[in-house]
Amino acid sequence: MPDQIYFEDVGEGDLLPEITERPTTTQLVHWAAAVGDFYPVHYDKDFAVGTGVPAVLVHGPFKHALLSRLVSSWAGPQATVKRIACSFRGQDYPNQDLTVKGRVTGTRSENGENLVELEIWSENESGEKTTPGSALVALPSRP
């Protein structure tokens, strides 16, 4: 079972363990089938180039899912992911490193829940933030 992090152990500025993926077109096809999004810009290079982009594009919601994985993996099995939001500011392409990162921006207790606010984002190989966002999770208290 994955490790659990507790509310009392979290502080503003804490960094989440980053995750680097190098999505292949095969993985994008897996994604397309998993969510039912067969829009060809994500797997048909000729189609993609015809739309004015240089190559097939990594799905935006795939990056949202990677950010969700970053948050849920860090937060642990007893945590509750309450919100994951991101903007798709830059394109990402297959066979390039895509790293998702996060940082604690605030903690508070509200209505009996221990809430942690996070800044999350993805970076491309050049270190550019292509998918900035935020998240809110509820963590358990240390027993």
């Binding site: 079972m1 994955p2 995750i19 993926e21 993985q27 897996h30 994604w31 089938a33 998993a34 969510v35 039912g36 999004d37 067969f38 829009y39 060809p40 810009v41 015809g50 739309t51 004015g52 799905h59 935006g60 919601p61 795939f62 949202h64 899912a65 990677l66 969700s68 994985r69 948050v71 849920s72 993996s73 099995p77 509750t80 992911v81 309450k82 919100r83 994951i84 939001a85 991101c86 903007s87 798709f88």
Partner: protein, 182 residues
């Protein structure tokens, strides 16, 4: 007033602009074990809880839990569903799913943002969710990057189980038509 924005022919008609606030027909989403495994596999999860029902139940779940972002799969019907995007598509309905109505205005689509808020995140295999998509905003502006106009729309899709909301999926989509030479 001087402006450096080239003039363009607006593609948003008054008819489209009046669709703000309009809601789609309900759509059924089935949350299944194969669907959860496929989503978890595609997103790179290694945790056994998303793949083995015994492990899920040992950890207190009713069945395989849906990873964050997975809200089931629209029940596909070859006579009614969008072939590329899998959601129901009624050509006579002004708003169908998170890709309409911009899908009917421009040929190319780009995801702009995604905001998923859970009200009840306890979603597991075997659940059936019902969604309705509401058009929250639609506007048009000139894009220097695209060298032409683009339409930006935001939809909010509310998912319910047994008539109780479980999640709101707010999606911004950009539609444009490629201009030669860009």
């Amino acid at each position: 007033m001087a402006t450096d924005t080239p003039a363009f022919e607006p593609s948003l008609t008054d008819e489209i602009l009046t669709l703000v606030g309009v809601e789609s027909a309900p759509c059924t989403h089935e949350v299944t074990r194969p669907g959860i495994r496929a989503f978890a596999r595609a997103a790179g999860y290694r945790d056994r809880v998303y793949y083995h029902a015994d492990e899920a139940k040992r950890r207190g779940y009713r069945d395989l839990p849906a990873p964050p972002g997975h809200l089931g799969f629209p029940a596909y019907d070859p006579e009614q569903s969008d072939y590329l995007l899998s959601w129901p598509l009624d050509p006579n309905a002004p708003v169908n799913h998170p890709f309409s109505p911009v899908q009917s205005i421009h040929t190319e689509l780009l995801a702009g943002s995604l905001d998923l808020e859970y009200i009840d995140p306890d979603i597991c295999a075997g659940d059936v969710l019902i969604s309705r998509t509401k058009l929250e905003d639609i506007r048009e502006r000139y894009s220097k990057a695209l060298n032409g106009p683009m339409v930006i729309q935001t939809t909010a899709t509310t998912f319910k189980r047994d008539d109780a909301p479980v999640a709101v999926y707010r999606f911004t989509l950009i539609g444009y038509t490629p201009v030669e030479g860009t």
